[in-house]
């Protein structure tokens, strides 16, 4: 079947099998390999992208379900060479160790701040419950998200 999606602002069409998972479509058809496959069972969140602006696990959605929708992957966050504030905050706060969970963590964190721009540390920890870091580097991940929230709140005051 033919589907058309807008990924990172660019319209892309493709013929897919109905059973194609969205994450496979992104990685194998569109060559957007920034989105990682981790557990493949809706648990780890490594494959988190945004569908219509909200975080979603792309291993648990069919490409067919995304037909006509707006998607954002980790490749779509930065503005050219300028990192998205969340990416920069992860960099500055050492919010990654091996980096495998990072694309999903960053996408989940951006969605979290969209919904709750001024989270407490507990809010961040609970808000990232759908993302696992096998290095257990949660402390600096939480620090990164709080830094990004503080920065955006400072900028808007």
């Amino acid at each position: 079947m033919k589907i058309t999606v807008t990924v990172n602002g660019v319209e892309r069409s493709s013929d897919v099998e109905p059973r194609t998972l969205l994450v496979h479509f992104l990685r194998d058809e569109l060559d957007l390999t920034g989105t990682n496959i981790g557990c493949d069972t809706s648990s780890c969140g490594a494959c988190t992208i945004h569908v219509e602006g909200q975080s979603v696990k792309s291993c648990t959605m069919l490409a067919a379900q995304a037909d006509g929708l707006e998607l954002t992957t980790i490749e779509g966050l930065a503005n050219g060479d300028i990192l998205h504030p969340m990416q920069r905050c992860f960099q500055e706060n050492h919010g990654l160790q091996c980096g495998y969970c990072t694309p999903g963590m960053v996408m989940a964190a951006v969605s979290l701040l969209d919904e709750n721009p001024n989270p407490s540390e507990t809010d961040v920890r609970i808000g990232l419950e759908g993302n696992l870091c096998r290095c257990t580097g949660y402390h600096n991940i939480v620090k990164s998200v709080l830094a990004c929230a503080a920065e955006s709140n400072g900028a808007s005051k």
Partner: protein
């Protein structure tokens, strides 16, 4: 993991969904948010030959005050329930429990209708619907019918929905809530409950729903009867296992689940204001 091959039909109306169900019969499975069904299909525990996607039926995405009850469209997502100001005041147990389904990514996609129709005894919302005395509205080619949620669950992953019916609305009675509680015991935040308990005390009676204590979502009827007869929380909670058939699995033995049910029912009753 990739699902077995299937044909995909996107329904653009309730009527289109019903025609597809009539056309494909038992071969077809309805797809809403997909967060219960797609994982099963990836594991090949489910292999429908046709998926009828009702996920775009935005007409079925609403939370309305209908006078005596709150009407919730089947395609309403968990995130919508969690953040609804109407539910926060009229059905706080449901809003709270919806915020504990899976994780934020799951709640962005999963729907109340999908969750109730999937009939997984380990899901949170069926127990909440049972405790609150909800009514399911099913639409078929011959019109709609109402099913009390206490009559809805007929077996493991089985409900009273006919193969050609679509769950279209959930009706939550407007209760004069005196107290409520949702207890979910799990190892990791995003996991299914090893055991869960939903309690609401309102209009002089107490509803207690159990998660993962049998092959279907269950009402703790013995507990409810005991509370009605004046038992205190401790005595009523001692009856939490009556009528249950807890399974043993990798997370817990059936004995452990029974113990958890007694402890969590007591906590739930106490948090709901019963001494």
């Amino acid at each position: 993991m990739i699902p077995a091959a299937f044909d995909y039909v996107r329904a653009d109306s309730v009527d289109a969904a019903l025609s597809a169900l009539t056309e494909y019969g038992d071969e077809a499975k309805l797809l809403a948010g997909g967060h219960s069904l797609i994982p099963l299909m990836k594991l090949r525990l489910a292999a429908p030959s046709v998926l009828v996607d009702v996920g775009r039926l935005d007409d079925l995405r609403y939370i309305n005050d209908a006078g005596d009850y709150i009407a919730i469209g089947a395609l309403t997502r968990h995130r919508d329930l969690e953040t609804s100001s109407l539910l926060a005041s009229a059905a706080p147990l449901l809003a709270h429990a919806a915020g504990h389904v899976g994780d934020p990514q799951v709640r962005h996609r999963g729907t109340i209708g999908g969750s109730l129709a999937h009939a997984d005894p380990a899901s949170d919302l069926p127990a909440v619907a049972l405790a609150m005395g909800a009514t399911i509205v099913a639409t078929g080619s011959n019109g709609t019918r109402e099913i009390a949620v206490s009559e809805f669950y007929t077996g493991f992953l089985e409900s009273a929905l006919a193969p050609d019916e679509l769950l279209t609305e959930i009706r939550i009675p407007k209760l004069d809530t005196q107290g409520w509680s949702f207890q979910k015991f799990n190892r990791r935040a995003q996991d299914w409950a090893i055991v869960g308990v939903a309690t609401v005390r309102a209009n002089g009676s107490t509803g207690v729903g159990l998660v993962n204590m049998g092959s279907t979502p269950l009402l703790a009827s013995a507990v409810m009867d005991a509370v009605k007869s004046g038992a205190n929380a401790a005595d009523a909670a001692a009856l939490a296992n009556e009528g249950t058939e807890a399974q043993s699995d990798i997370n817990a033995s059936s004995e452990y689940r029974e113990h958890l049910a007694r402890v969590l029912v007591r906590r739930s009753l106490e948090e709901s204001g019963l001494s």
